[in-house]
Symmetry: C2
Subunit: 334 residues, 2 copies
DNA sequence: ACAATTAATGAAACCGGTAACATAAAAGAG
DNA sequence: CTCTTTTATGTTACCGGTTTCATTAATTGT
């Protein structure tokens, strides 16, 4: 069925389209009889005004853009849910785009958001920018975007609204907790610090923790590569093969944590090491597998990010905010 | 930075906006010198045409709407990924809306899609329609939508493009596989058949399987409630408490499967039953926990659904298609 | 060399809404 | 009973693009 226009409704009702428009936007300015009649006709015809036309006319937009690495990862799934809840509450629509953690895709996503003239963007940058080198391009794209942007989870060192976790502190907490439990040889599986500012923060946290505990770093226990399950698996496998006498492992996100689990279960050494992961790993609690993790509540992060964006849209000149969320150590034993 | 318009570019270039428009849409109709100059200016100014204006003018849209119950569930996460890949390949945008498996949300989502004048909708209906009663309303909304819709995973008995798995056969296969392995008392945890056509199909599959195996149904072994982990947990717990002498369990989706696992692990009876789940349950393979499931490849379903939609948009009068995807039994032992 | 084509560009209308301004009728003031 | 104000509605221009049609200049044919 073809979509009716405001003119169609106006014709049916024998009024001008201005009157119809008023019924939708300021009904109190329309005489009750006329209004009821028009409303009736709109309902019967299943009329819905075109957001496209309205947006063009009002020079506004009713959609918020979201750029995330991938929705499959539970961490981002929860983040997205937090965003969605706020967006829905504010009668906005969600334009979704993933960047697959690739700079190229990231650029395309930003272009798309610009083309679509979204009201604002919630942006989790691709992690694997060859650091500083590409920042200029990102910065230009963000400026050209012409709408507020909130940067989520990953710091790209630009002066803008941001929200992320205190990962340095999280890793430090993890280290100290392990030390307190008697571990002195703690392996560390992380993302690649050359590509990724978050990885640098986390590594800093690891070193700070060791330092505070008076333990000297053993380079052989530090693995930094891709933030992927496959890398976590390989790293842990290699660590075990080398028979270094470590007794605990920290993995820096849930993917690496899964890789760790894959490796130790394959080797039949599931109970050989103490393990703390950043992010909860799904299913373990159900299976009553003991696990410790630094809880990073990404639903909450999504919620706060979306609210920050909406507030920024309402008050464009408000002072820039940088929210740092705390993490907490969760120990699950059964 | 404010967004420039086509008129701004035209002014800078000293041409009419028609010419600028032509540079974007049919560059061969513009003299090379002029074209290069305009392109240069567009680039320098970071000009991107407004999709809003273009869509209104061309009476088309470049976005596809997606309505799914929730993105958090891995099954839909994969489905969504399949959709996304096809959408991106076709230079379309994705408008996302979840219905949380609630009829009310579902209606709102459809309204939103209509307001946004999307090009087409990929639609996973909320399961919990009080069956036939609300179908009329859904049907009307779909008709009023004014764009092609592909119905995914859940049959709402309307004459339209659909794609779903052969769940009846899947459950039957599961039953027969268990019987072959020597099980005669097979518990069955399903969604609520009063609310859900899929649940009916699955129950049918269960009964057909039993019948073919010459086993009479034991009503005490059949649990039908919500498609949620919590229900799976409760059902399995009750089954164990009643000490009915069943030896195998079929759960009808991954949530129910997780609930089953929760219950048996809590009771310390993880190895007491044979279990086949519809859908793969994440993590089990990594942890080398034996598990059998009917693989329903939702990524592939998403991909095919999106392609079907795009094809429908291209050829509106093409014959309606109803794709039935096969499932396969996967046995993972370690 | 002049009519007929073709190529390059512009003017104006349109898409479906909104909004500023105009107008006419009804209501209130004196 | 006239004059001002208010109320209800319509006219018209505009948002930023696209598209049809017109116009002018350049090219071709003979």
């Amino acid at each position: 069925m073809k979509n009716l226009t405001i003119s169609d409704i106006a014709r049916k009702a024998g009024v001008s389209k201005t009157t119809v428009s008023r019924v939708m936007n300021s009904p109190e300015k329309v005489e009750e009889g006329t209004r009821k009649k028009i409303e009736q006709i709109m309902k019967e015809a299943h009329y819905t005004p075109s957001a496209t036309a309205r947006n063009l006319s009002k020079q506004i937009s009713s959609t918020i853009g979201v750029i995330v690495p991938e929705i499959g990862n539970a961490f981002f799934g929860e983040l997205f849910k937090g965003i969605e809840d706020v967006i829905n509450k504010n009668d906005l629509s969600l334009l979704y785009c993933s960047n697959e953690d690739k700079a190229q895709k990231d650029f395309e996503a930003l272009d798309m958001m610009k083309t679509q003239r979204v009201k604002g963007v919630l942006y989790v940058p691709a992690v694997n920018y060859p650091a500083v080198r590409m920042m200029g391009k990102v910065q230009k794209k963000l400026e050209a975007l012409g709408c507020p942007v909130v940067c989520i989870d990953r710091d790209i060192s630009l002066h803008m609204d941001t929200i992320h976790f205190d990962d340095r502190k999280a890793v430090k907490t993890a280290v100290l907790s392990l030390v307190k439990a008697g571990h002195h040889k703690i392996a560390f599986i992380n993302g690649n610090e050359e590509k990724n500012i978050l990885a640098i923060e986390r590594y800093e946290g690891y070193r700070e923790g060791l330092k505070e505990a008076g333990i000297s770093e053993d380079e052989r226990l530090v693995y930094q590569g891709e933030y992927q399950q496959s890398y976590g698996y390989l790293a842990m496998k290699e660590l075990m093969e080398k028979e270094l006498d470590f007794t605990a492992v920290i993995t820096c996100n849930n993917s690496l944590g899964r890789g760790y689990l894959q490796a130790v279960h394959e080797a039949g050494r599931a109970d050989a090491f103490e393990h703390i992961s950043l992010d909860k790993i799904e299913m373990l609690d159900l299976l009553r597998i003991p696990n410790n993790y630094m809880l990073r509540d990404s639903y909450e992060m999504g919620r706060q990010a979306a609210e920050m964006l909406i507030s920024r849209i309402a008050f464009p000149d408000k002072k820039i905010r940088n929210i740092l969320l705390e993490t907490s150590l969760v120990k699950e034993t059964f």
